[in-house]
Amino acid sequence: MKITRITNGRIIDPANNRDEVADLWIADGKISAPQPGCETETWDARGLVVSPGLIDIHVHLREPGQSHKETIATGTRAAAAGGFTSIVAMPNTNPSADSAATITWIKEKAAREACVNVFCTGAITKGLRGEELAPFGSLFNAGVVALTDDGHCVQNHEIMRRAVEYARMFGLTVMDHCQDYSLVGDGIMHEGEWSLRLGIPGWPRAGEEMIVARNIMLAELCDSPIHCQHISSGGSVRLLREARARGVKISGEVCPHHIALTDASLAAFDSNFKMNPPLRMEDDIEAIIEGIADGTLTILCSDHAPHAFYEKEVEIDHAPFGITGLENEFSTFCDILVHKRGAISLARLIALYTAEPARLLNLDRGTLSVGAPADITIIDPDLEWTFDKNKSVSLSHNTPFHGHTWKGRAVRTIVAGETVWAL
């Protein structure tokens, strides 16, 4: 039996409130109690951080149906290269993941081709159309870990209410892409000085806040959790803070671009800065960072949304929304939140990527407890590097971060005891 001993690393395991320099043992693909003298291999992690495998709960793997953008094989390699051992796939594929058959197809393909754990979400509504509930029961039996219409937003409050109530029976969290269609219209970028200057249709903050407020009310009404995806507006943070203080089962997540970039980046009409929800202003960045620091926002993720070069290489209003993110998100957040801003500790950053998402979606991951799957990310929190999109292993390179330099990076990704990527 292979027994691996990782020596001298700083083990940060937020699920167990553990932060100490110690050895970590892996046996048979699981975290093991120390077995001195029995190790078959030893890695020295001196100066490095040994973290539970990072989890990204918001990833578009694009299969089935859009394999020219990304595949389960390439998307999971990009995840591994970013330090992720588990990712949660969004359902806006073709066909959309609104049936057990599609979930089973994804899981079988992932079993053959994925190099990290792939968890599936199911659609809230059939075809993501917002009209009729998808079959939550059979989706649950097929193994989905959450429900979302991501990319779309259920506009009808009654349907959303019943979705949340019905999901409760299975213990499934409903995740929502918060966008009020009538307010946002054909909006492309944050509505503000820059949208006025550039003549680009605006996407007002209220278009997100309206639905965040709706979700708070429905989570309260149904006494069941709703998770608000990719929060971009400072107003949403304030709504979430107030609701969470009252004990409402509401949560929110943040993507790296929403704290790294502003709407001014659209000045060159580069579609690699076009995503949904859009980049906003410095005020929003401040509010989001404050929300991360005070525990209002508990999840970090990428909204990794690969698109082929030729799809993005068009007029700004014709280009699809979305950017890649798996390979840079940890570094972007580490650099901004831990190093530059000192908003949170490294241990909290790791918690936002491990214990918190595992708790939200009831995943048996995100911990280094003895007996847990040996999903481990080795991190060099002080390593400086520059992102080169041409070295990206994602099938698509639609990133606004080409040439950006950050401090902090995953250097080895271990899934079930096996190294799937190393720098």
Binding site: E193, L196, G199, I200, F269, Y310
Partner: protein, 311 residues
């Protein structure tokens, strides 16, 4: 002295005041060409210009065509329906084909903001923006400014009102960018839905009562107001618009004697402007059209590599 080193004109926002002045000076020199009996100079002989109009336009396209012919360039017109965009070809691919056909200058009219800039960064051909969505219409902005400067001899200090649907207007934006750079005092007037207060960040004043500002204006530039399906939620109707913002005869009577009445056309008589006012002595609407030729000659000449102001 040559102060122009751009191959493209995508907007006035990115130009310096010096560059705008230089364009206007060049246009002034070209205006004389149209006043001769032989309205032609050989400045762009042998150059090929493609008018690539993905959105319909008659006035602007014709103006560019006349301007190019007066410079002795060869002109080809392509409309959206005649282009391969209808067959699913991308804008970039269509434009690359035009470049491969050795177009020296492509004049683009397109519904997407930033489309001219997008092509300018990907092609060696000169790209002239003839209107990109609600973003800019730089030659219209220039010809409006040219007309004002011709009448007043200066732009600095002029009180310019721009009235109407500012939010969706590329003409308004190019006017704002150019006029503010040259030191005019710009006031935007219109319904609060179409003239949001955040426009003040562009260095202009926002007013919703036209009668408060009309009397001080040196120029009133009226924009075409539309009330088609996609604008319905912005204001209740054309009748109410006319009563609140239209340049009626009664309002026109309160204008300063020297105040210019401008309109980029096409005008809606009886809506944003009274028919008699449009034809009145203060109206320079048709002079704008004539000046458009000179301005476009200057733009084509400079972007296609002409040096200095021709004698």
């Amino acid at each position: 002295m040559k102060t122009w080193n751009r191959k493209d004109l995508t907007g006035l926002d990115e130009l310096s005041s010096g560059e705008i002045e230089f364009l206007l000076e060049t246009a002034r020199a070209f205006k004389g060409v149209g006043e001769r009996s032989l309205k032609k100079v050989p400045a762009l002989r042998g150059k090929t210009l493609v008018n690539f109009f993905v959105e319909p336009s008659t006035r602007t396209r014709t103006s560019f065509e006349v301007a190019a012919m007066r410079l002795s360039a060869d002109v080809v017109n392509i409309s959206a329906t005649a282009s391969s965009l209808q067959k699913g070809e991308t804008l970039k691919d269509t434009a690359l084909n035009l470049q491969a056909l050795q177009a020296d200058v492509i004049v683009l009219r397109h519904s997407s903001p930033g489309s001219a800039k997008f092509l300018s960064e990907r092609l060696d051909s000169s790209i002239i923006n003839a209107g990109d969505g609600a973003h800019e219409h730089p030659t219209q902005g220039l010809l409006d400014i040219f007309t004002m400067r011709e009448k007043f001899g200066r732009i600095e200090g002029l009180n310019v009102l721009i009235v109407g649907d500012i939010l969706f207007s590329r003409v308004a934006r190019s006017n704002i960018f150019g006029l503010v750079k040259l030191g005019a005092k710009v006031t935007l007037v219109g319904p609060s839905t179409l003239v949001p207060r955040s426009f003040e960040k562009l260095g202009v004043r926002v007013v919703h009562r036209i009668d408060e500002v009309l009397g001080d204006a040196d120029v009133v530039n009226l924009l075409r107001i539309q009330h088609e399906r996609q604008r319905k939620e912005y204001f209740p109707g054309l009748g109410e618009y006319t009563s609140l913002f239209g340049l009626t005869k009664a309002r026109a009577a309160r204008l300063k004697p020297g105040c210019l009445v401008m309109h980029p056309g096409p005008i809606n008589r009886g809506v944003e402007i009274d028919s008699d006012v449009a034809d009145g002595s203060q109206s320079v609407i048709l002079e704008q059209v004539t000046n458009g030729i000179a301005v476009r000659m200057a733009v084509l000449y400079l972007c296609a590599g002409g040096a200095g102001i021709p004698a």
